[in-house]
Amino acid sequence: MGMTIAEKIIARAAGAEAVRAGEIHTVTLDYLMSNDGTTHLTIDMYNKLRNPRIADKEKLVWIVDHNVPCDSPKTAASQKKMRDFARDNGITFYEGEGVCHQIMCEKHVVPGQLIFGADSHTCAYGALGAFGTGVGCTDYLYGMVTGGSWVMVPETLRFNLTGKLTDRVTARDLILTIIGMIGANGANYHAMEFVGDGMKNLTMSDRISICNLCVEAGAKTALMEVDDITLAYLEEHGGRKPAACFKSDDDAVFEKTFDIDLSTIVPVVAKPHFVDNLAPVDEVKGVKINEAFLGSCNNGRIEDLRLGASIIKGHKVADKVRFLVVPASQEVYRQALREGLLDIFMEAGAMIMNPNCSVCWGSCQGVIGAGEVLISTGTRNFKGRAGDKNSFVYLGSAATVAASAIAGEIVSPYTY
């Protein structure tokens, strides 16, 4: 019996010839990523150990991205703890360079790896053919001390993509549609694997966006095959070489296979307060907004900024509406600067922020008040996620967000 990509990566990490869904295996981890959301808690637990030690500091990547620059004495204390520990222990450390998953994709992840990240959206690394999964501090600490962990091999839901997305329909619309279709628990503890002829029409930016959001369907991880597009991205980003390139075997077992024709996808939004609370954009048009956000690990890449800029060029942000544009990394920021995109956004009246999680995280910048409405390319729209517990977050694509920022209400991306 053949294996899925997920099974092959775990088999590699477990040093086993074959593994099957449902089994539990002891594995060696390739990377352990942690950000300023929880690293200070991990450090506290580490310091209480009888014999604190780090198995392999080369595996650790620490990234300050949630509150950048720091906004309060409390978070300053948490970040100082993280910064000092990283310095004292020689841990790879980034601060202000971008959102953690974007940094990992740009600089570290290679195909075939098994990676733990102390952040829900670690499943983004599947775009590079790596098994990324989110863990809490306890799991992180165990991995940090031993270099390994335990994993249950997930069943796989396979998505066979054909065709091509139409104009102004994005990968974000695709993955929101899928989450709406299978539900917020539809992929609980599963791997979501994306294959098919349609993959050649999806850029690395699209692929990261798709894999990144799979956790919102409950997935443990998301996975894609490595192709020329993946290899070109790795080459452009430091000339990185794959550890291993896996494809599911013909006789691998999938719990279910979904066939999706990309040309049938339409612009959608997730309504408050759940990511699977889906509606076509046309159904919610006219909802007044107070703020629009273009950024995050889901949609803060250069392709998203290009799309947003192409729509807002020559227009103005609506009166009394704030439009935050937040490139996902310094690399994206500088590229956007070179292409004149930031100028287009500023000309329209948008605020350009430094690379960070921004209002997607609802703590640092751009938080919204009671009764306010945000249209966002962020990852989540849970109650209170972007600020006051009585505020409302709609999730949509870069195109929908940019168009809505001009209109001052949610509109179709075809409006301008």
């Binding site: 449902g22 089994e23 539990i24 295996h25 002891t26 300023d36 959301g37 929880t38 200070h40 808690l41 506290d44 637990m45 150990l49 009888r50 014999n51 949630h66 509150n67 409390k74 978070t75 204390a77 948490s78 703890k81 863990v135 809490g136 306890t138 799991d139 600490l141 165990y142 001390v145 031993t146 335990w150 249950m152 628990n185 609980n188 503890y189 409950g218 443990k220 995280w361 609802g362 703590s363 849970f382 209170g384 996620r385």
Partner: protein, 129 residues
């Protein structure tokens, strides 16, 4: 042998703490923003629960459980076969649940993971390595 307590739905820990409060420097400061049960699994363990069996688990619950030394076992079919008060036998090494004449296959826990459970969970096991 252990006594069965059958529940309707599994516990969801996802909403216990709003994520932005995680940035606070200490757990004590975060506690002000959590529901009463900071860790649902720890509460179950403290109540004397020896294992949690279910057809499926939300991932956070599953990992938390094993990590604090409370076995979480995936077992199909058992849920519909038992009622509260029934006595069942769980063999984690073989991956078998026995209820009277009936047997159900369940998750096998590798020796390595058994050791973690025996030592009271992930962090306790680090102290004994």
């Amino acid at each position: 042998m252990g006594k069965v307590f059958r529940f309707n739905k599994d516990v969801d820990t996802d909403q216990i703490i709003a994520s932005q409060y995680l940035l606070y420097p200490t757990v004590d400061e975060m506690k002000a923003h959590t529901f009463e049960s900071l860790d649902a699994n720890a509460v179950l363990k403290a109540l004397g629960v020896r294992a949690v069996l279910a057809p499926s688990f939300a991932r956070i619950f599953y990992r938390n459980s094993i990590n604090i030394g409370l076995p979480a076992i995936v077992c199909d079919g058992l849920y519909d076969a038992v009622r509260t008060g029934d006595e069942i036998d769980l063999d984690m090494e073989k991956g078998i649940v026995t209820f009277g004449e009936q047997t159900f296959s369940c998750t096998k826990l590798p020796v390595h993971l058994q050791k973690i459970l025996d030592r009271g969970g992930l962090i306790s096991s680090l102290d004994e390595m």
